[in-house]
Structures are given as C-alpha cells and as structure tokens.
C-alpha cells in the first residue's frame, strides 16, 4: 500500500466515520436519557435517504403514510391513557402534539411537493418527514415499558428494527437508491483529491456535534436532558418529566440520523435494509465511548469508519467481519474498565 492510497483510504474512512459519528451520538443521547438502545436508528438514517430519493423522483414517499399511521396510533394510546388517569384537561395538548403536528408536517410536505421544490427544500422535507417517526414509536412502544430492564428495552428495540425493515420494503421497494451529490465541488488536499461531498459530511458532523454541545451547555432544556441522564429520580424531583426528555432526545437523535442519511445517500447506494449496518457500526463506535460519552462515541465511530475503509481495501468481502471482530476486545476492555466505575458509584 502506497502512502497515496493510504491517504485516500483515510479520507474516505473519516467521511464514513463522520456519518457513523452522527448516528453514534444520537444513539448515546437516546440511551442515556431513556435507557433504550435504539437499534432502529440506522433505519431512520436509511429511510431519510430513501425518502429524499422518492422526493427527487417526484413520488410522495411512504414515510408520509407511516407518520400518519403512527400519529393516529400514538394519539389513540395517549387519549386512552389520559382518560383512564382522569386527566381529560390534558387532551387538547395531546391532540396537538401527537396528531395535529405530525399530520401538519405530512400535509405541508405533500403540498410543497406538488410545487416541484428545489433540492434544498426537498432536504428539509425529507428531514421533516423522518423526525416524527422515532418520538411516535417511543410513545407507542417504549413508554408503556419505560420502567423495564435495559435488556427488555433492547429486545423490543431489536423487534422494532425488524418491523421497520419490513415496512421499508413495503414503502420503498427492493431497489437501492443513490441521490444526486449535494455539491460537485472538489479540491486537492496534500496531493489527494477530496470531493466536496466528503468535506460536507465532515463539516456537517462537526456543526451538528457543536450545536448539540451548545444545546447541552447553554439551555435549560439541554441541561434537563443531561440531568435525566445523570439522575432520573433527582430530575423527577425537579419536575423534569422523563417522558418529555425522552421525546426531545428522540427528536434530536432522529434529526442527526436524518442528516447522516442525507449525507450518505449520494456516496453509497442505500437499500430499505441498509440501516442495520449503519446503526450497528455506529453502535460499535458508541460502545467505544462506553455508551455514555459523546466525544468517546464520535471518536469511536470515526475509528470504525477508518478501519472499515482500510479493511475494505484489503478484502471487501470481509470488511464487516473485521469491523465487528473489533467489538470483542473492546467489550472485554470496557467490561474490565466498568468494574471500576461501578465501585465508584457504590461509594
């Protein structure tokens, strides 16, 4: 391997890793706030790419129907639980959040699409259609079992992933898509050609991690999310509702997954089931960070991207095997390291 090839592979790996980093950060966000390891996260990223491709082809994506169906189901469950608890006064609010807003989003997307909008608007529409999915799934699937064990939540999360893959096949069909590049700009960097798309991916990852950092450090809502992650009982005693913190975490996480889906769509062909590998590799990255550290998750995810890039040069058939084999020593190292931190908590 010459140094030129190594440089190309490294840049390629950083770009892939940046996409994984966005999903990994979202995974950590949702896990720390809700204790759910949200496996369908990669599917959210893949669905965004497929939604964008459908919009590009002037077809209204199945995501719209999915949002409508989920919104109706979530509203039904919420209304029943409110009536059962005798909290009828909260009905208008529930109808607004679970029914009116998701339906309005789909309605706006449907109307805008008929006007043949430019690419920038289509990007926004794709993100708008994708972000309600995870919060609604949270209401329908996870909130009734919110006090369950992490293992139960994980099992349900895996089941949810398979359900979403099935829906993906139904909505988007078996064909893969590749969207048009967001930019045709390219430049030479240290003798290696770097495409504008690659730079955009890295830039987007940096900007979104930076925004998340600002949100956590400078807003009360951001701090309330951190508080829920640090101490659930303590935060409830401050009047912070874990369900609301969860919804915000799912919204933010979906946005990040959506952005990564948009970024990856012009580089890789995305199929209805591509999300699983994206999500799993981001998960490996998140585990490197111990599932609780955002910088750790981001560094881990970029590491996974670089490793994958070099692995695919050596043997493209075995690249996934190489990446996931990495998980075993990391898990051993992590479980040894976590013994210490548990002792600290006991103290």
């Amino acid at each position: 391997m010459t140094s030129d090839i190594a440089a190309i592979l490294a840049i390629d790996g950083i770009a892939t890793g940046a996409v994984y980093a966005l999903v990994a950060i979202g995974t950590v966000l949702i896990f720390t706030v809700t204790r759910v390891i949200f496996i369908p996260f990669g599917d959210i990223a893949a669905f965004t790419a497929l939604t964008l491709a459908a919009l590009d082809a002037k077809r209204f994506p199945g995501t719209g129907a999915l949002v409508v169906a989920l919104a109706c189901l979530a509203t039904l469950i919420e209304v029943i639980s409110l009536i059962r608890n005798g909290e009828i006064r909260l009905l208008p609010r529930a109808l607004l959040f679970y029914l009116a807003i998701p339906l309005a989003v789909v309605g706006i997307a449907w109307l805008t699409m008929r006007m043949d909008p430019p690419l920038a608007v289509r990007l926004v529409l794709a993100l708008m259609l994708i972000t309600p999915i995870a919060p609604l799934l949270d209401r329908i699937v996870f909130r009734p079992i919110a006090d369950g064990t992490v293992l139960l939540l994980l099992t349900v999360s895996v089941a949810l992933h398979f359900a979403l893959v099935g829906l993906g096949l139904l909505f988007f069909g078996p064909e893969g898509v590749r969207t048009e590049p967001l930019t045709s700009f390219s430049t030479e960097f240290a003798g290696v050609l770097v495409s504008g798309q690659t730079m955009l991916i890295v830039l987007a990852a940096l900007v979104f991690s930076g925004l998340l950092y600002l949100f956590f450090d400078f807003t009360l809502v951001g701090k309330s999310l951190r508080a829920t992650a640090v101490n659930r009982t303590g935060s409830r005693l401050m009047g912070i509702r874990p369900e609301r913190a969860g919804t915000i975490a799912y919204l933010l996480g979906s946005l990040m997954a959506g952005v990564s889906g948009i970024l990856i769509a012009p580089v890789n062909t995305v199929f209805y089931d591509s999300g699983f590998l994206i999500g799993l590799k981001a998960f490996v990255g998140a585990i490197v960070g111990g599932m609780t550290s955002y910088p750790g998750a981001a560094i881990g995810a970029v590491g996974v991207g670089i490793l994958e890039s070099f692995a695919s040069f050596q043997s493209s058939a075995l690249k996934d095997v190489i990446v996931f084999s990495l998980l075993i020593p990391i898990l051993i190292w992590r479980s040894l390291a976590s013994l210490h931190s548990e002792e600290e908590i006991e103290e």
Binding site: L220, K223, R226, A227, V230, N231, L237, M238, G239, I240
Partner: protein, 237 residues
C-alpha cells in the same frame, strides 16, 4: 392558619408488605412539623409517598387540591418539594447547573436570578464552588446544595428526609439553623429525622412513627419533655 398538607389514613405497601399503615398527619402554613422515630419505622417511605415516588392509598390534600393520584412532576409544579435522604444530586454537573435545574418547574423565569442570589447568600460556600462538579463536594456541601436546589423551586412545603444524616455536628447545627430560618421566609417544612432532639428543638409540632404507625403526637415543646420519648429517643437527661 390554613392547612398546607393533610394526609388521612395513608397506607403504603412494598411488595404486599405494609410499610406505613393508616397514617394521618397535617402541616399548617408556616409550620415546621417533624416526624421522628427509629430506623425502619417508615419515615422515608412516608415522604416518598407524599412526593409520589411510591404509590399509596388514603387521602392526600395539598393546598386544597387532591394530589393522591398526581405524578411527582405535577406535585413539584404545585410547589411541594422533597430533599431526599440520598440527596439525588446531578453529580457530573456543576453546582450552578444543579441550582438552575432546581428552578426547572417554575413557569415564570423572571425571578430565577434573584432566587439564585438569595441561595448563594444563604450558602456562600456554594457560590465559591459554583463551577465545581457536584460530585466533588464534601458531605455538608452536598446537603447545602440539595437544600439550595430545592429552594430554587420556591417551595410552599419543603419535605426534608434526614438532612443531618452523616454530617459533622457543627454542620448539623448550621443545617438546623437554616431550616429554622426558612420558616421566616414563609416556607412550611415537614422534617423527618433520627436526630430527635435537634428536630424537636426546631419544630412546632411532632409525630412519633413506630413500625409504620403514628404512636404519639403533640406540640414539639411537650414531646421534648415526655418521659417515654426521653428514654426511647432523646438519650435521657
């Protein structure tokens, strides 16, 4: 004086075992009421039920509204606050962030800075350490932070679970002085303590809880001279 909190025949079960049985107590506005009793009598359980972290039977009325079925968060929004025995601080976050989060339930954000200054004036140590992570504080400072964080919510009734637990005598005295001074701010207090003498010296009214039931109650100044209590809890004369 109007009634702040009244509990009537409250029963709390842990896995079918009754930890608290038919307890009735009330706190009037501006009063400090204490519940004393031995370890395992159900004092903490009673407070956990009052804040809604544990489900209970019986009636619970707080400032005129029935809170028995309400969520913890709804009770906090009505200005019923608990400083739990374990403090439950946000240990990875700074002292300033912990205090700010204390004010989370307030819709009107205009007075938050003023309340924060008042808390810092009350506990100057917290001002010195505002950038430090809560987990790095000493035991006494943690209790001050837990108290300060609860005060940020402008509670109408503050429930304190063993505020003196594990603290040095000098700091215990300071904490009790703070509790007494809160009454002057118009905060009513429900104080659960093992340190019966200090609690009764501070409180207006006291209840004695033994194996999940109230066995005695009366004005604190009477209880402190009660011969039975002196031998059982106050360590003689």
């Amino acid at each position: 004086m109007s009634q702040m909190l009244s509990m009537t025949d409250v029963t709390v079960c842990y896995d079918n075992v009754e930890a608290v049985h038919n307890v009735s107590l009330s706190v009037d506005e501006g009063q400090i009421v204490t519940v004393i009793g031995p370890n395992g009598a159900g004092k903490t359980t009673l407070l956990m039920a009052a804040i809604g972290l544990l489900a209970s039977r019986g009636s619970m009325v707080f400032r005129g509204s029935d809170i028995q079925k309400m969520s913890v968060e709804d009770r906090v929004e009505r200005r019923l606050c608990l400083v739990p025995e374990k403090r439950e601080l946000f240990s990875d976050m700074s002292v300033a962030d912990n205090l700010l989060l204390g004010s989370y339930s307030l819709r009107d954000r205009s007075g938050v800075q003023k309340t924060l200054d008042e808390v810092y004036d009350r506990f100057p140590r917290l001002r010195e350490r505002q950038r430090q992570a809560a987990g790095t504080l000493s035991g006494g400072e943690r209790q001050m932070l837990a108290l300060g964080r609860a005060l940020m919510a402008k509670p109408a009734l503050l429930m304190l679970d063993e505020p003196s637990l594990g603290l040095a005598p000098l700091i215990v005295r300071e904490i009790f002085r703070t509790i007494a001074s809160l009454r002057d701010l118009g905060v009513s207090i429900l104080l659960v303590e093992q340190n019966a003498r200090a609690a009764l010296e501070t409180a207006d009214y006291g209840y004695v809880l033994e194996t999940g039931a109230i066995v005695q109650s009366g004005p604190a100044k009477d209880l402190i001279h009660d011969p039975r209590l002196i031998t059982a809890y106050l360590g003689g004369h």
